[in-house]
């Protein structure tokens, strides 16, 4: 049986991006871990209902599965959110709004992608107006697979993200900052002239100081 564990061609881009972060993992100090421990207990979620997966966010947040017991509650605006949940396939039009919402969030911020559509295109693989791999446009911290993932799976994904934050590991927003050119080039490739306005990432023009 043909089984490949190595990436091929463009699939390796992701690993190249994450390589630079790998070395930082070792040096998470005491303060990082303490801050991470505090952060992990409170995640405000901006649930962007892009695809069918959005329907599973409601039982997660309400009485049946009650995500609030893990400190996970909905945020009314991107400004106050820590986690952006992309629930399913992303049309190009939506991608533009999602990028803008993501850039308005205050750091540290995380992205959770639900469903196979956000991982590899899923059943929309050959659609003319959806993107296939979300990770080419926004830095995803946690994938939750399934079509669509049930609330239990979402809770597990959130718990895994919380563990990751608790260890104080650098996360996606750093990757976004360091490889902004690559992300912006990818976004420009699919959005063309319709790029979102650039004042939401003006630190890019300020040479990364802002």
């Amino acid at each position: 049986m043909y089984h490949k564990s190595e990436c091929e061609g463009f699939q390796c881009e992701q690993r190249m991006l994450e390589e630079s972060l790998g070395q930082e993992n070792a040096q998470t100090g005491l303060v990082d871990r303490l801050v991470g421990w505090l952060r992990q207990r409170s995640l405000f979620v901006l649930a962007y209902g892009t695809g069918c997966g959005a329907i599973e966010m409601r039982p997660l947040m309400t009485s049946r599965f009650d995500a609030e017991r893990f400190g996970i509650i909905g945020a009314p605006t991107p400004r106050q959110a820590d986690v952006l949940v992309i629930s399913g396939y992303l049309a190009l039009k939506t991608l533009k709004r999602v990028i803008r919402s993501y850039e308005q969030m205050q750091e540290p911020k995380y992205v959770i992608a639900l469903g196979s559509c956000a991982i590899n295109g899923g059943m929309y693989w050959d659609s003319y107006n959806t993107i296939k791999q979300l990770d080419h446009y926004l830095p995803v911290d946690m994938y939750i697979n399934g079509c669509m993932p049930r609330p239990e799976a979402l809770i597990e994904g959130f718990a895994a993200l919380q563990k990751k934050i608790g260890r104080g590991e650098p996360s996606g927003f750093k990757r976004y900052r360091e490889n902004i050119d690559w992300y912006k080039a990818n976004q420009r490739r699919v959005l063309g002239e319709n790029m979102p306005p650039d004042y939401t990432y003006d630190w890019y023009h300020a040479g990364g100081v802002a």
Binding site: R39, S42, P76, R79, Q106, E107
Partner: protein, 303 residues
């Protein structure tokens, strides 16, 4: 030296009580909705997380000064409300102030809010502030009337003197002047931004209203001051109506029972519209307040 330690202790106590009370509120709320709810410490974690976030927004200087003004107003209010009766500690600067000063300090928050939100230019924020100021119009009048009733009853504006006048359970203003208590309680719930008067920050209608543009540290600061302000108001009502407290456990007990009362009221009533809120305030608490003034001032059995 004493003043500094005392002030820090008051600020610390009001913060700790604030997040524990709010944590309790969220858990209570969850149990009523038949779920487990977050831990008691959840509000502390939320607040710390926001204080540890970055703040990359720029909307001009007023946007940054607004939360500072609000927080300064809250801390000053905490320092002018005596937490304990007949004690050297937890007094802050309360012997230099009185009820009139506290009334003025209570308005600093909404003012700073309007300044900051106005400069952010977010339409939802402006909508929230408009709603807030409309509601303020409704709640201020009965609130001040209720305070005036208490001042009339004791013929003093000093919180210390009012506390001292309520020795035993029978002398509590809660029992000697129940009308004033009801007149104050309803605007008090509204000033805590609790349901049914929470139309200002409705999350899905106006996207958190005045707080729509705040994220990161400024939002953390706003949360902190909100918790401290709530405790300051609770302690003020405890001082005025429940005879104050001799030591910290009694204080927590009394403030907590008052909080439980307001929390239970706000759990079971759904949100009112802005104009319904103002209507309600100008009918029920204000009508009661006017009756109370007539009863205290003109009728023979009044003071």
């Amino acid at each position: 030296m004493h003043a500094i330690v005392d002030s820090l202790a008051m600020i610390g106590i009001s913060y700790v009580m604030g997040f524990l009370f709010y944590g309790f509120y969220r858990q209570f709320n969850a149990r009523v909705q038949r779920r487990w709810g977050p831990s008691l410490w959840q509000n502390f974690f939320d607040n710390m997380k926001f204080l540890l976030k970055t703040e990359t927004l720029t909307h001009g200087p007023m946007f940054f000064l607004g939360p500072m003004i609000i927080a300064a107003g809250a801390i000053t209010t905490v320092l002018f409300v005596p937490f304990l009766k007949d004690s050297d500690w937890l007094q802050g600067f309360s012997e230099h102030g009185n009820l009139i000063l506290i009334i003025y300090l209570l308005v600093v928050g909404p003012l700073g809010n309007a300044l900051a939100v106005g400069s952010s230019g977010n339409p939802f924020g402006v909508m929230g502030v408009t709603r807030g100021l409309t509601r303020l119009m409704g709640l201020e009048v009965p609130f001040f009337l209720g305070l005036a009733l208490v001042m009339l009853q004791h013929e003093t504006t000093s919180v210390h003197a009012i506390m001292a006048a309520q020795d035993g359970l029978a002398q509590w203003n809660l029992f000697t002047n129940p009308i004033a208590f009801i007149v104050i309680l309803l605007p008090f719930i509204a000033s805590q931004n609790a349901s049914p008067f929470d139309v200002v920050g409705a999350p899905v209608e106006v996207y958190a209203g005045p707080r729509v543009e705040f994220g990161g540290r400024l939002l953390g600061l706003l949360m902190t001051q909100n918790m401290m302000m709530t405790v300051a108001k609770l302690v003020l009502v405890v001082d005025l109506f429940m005879g104050g407290a001799g030591n910290v456990p009694i204080l927590i007990l009394k403030a907590f029972s008052l909080f439980l009362l307001t929390a239970s009221i706000s759990l079971v009533f759904p949100r009112l519209k802005t104009e319904q809120t103002v209507d309600f305030f100008w009918k029920v608490p204000l009508g009661l307040g006017v009756l109370g003034v007539i009863a205290t001032v003109w009728l023979p059995w009044g003071a």
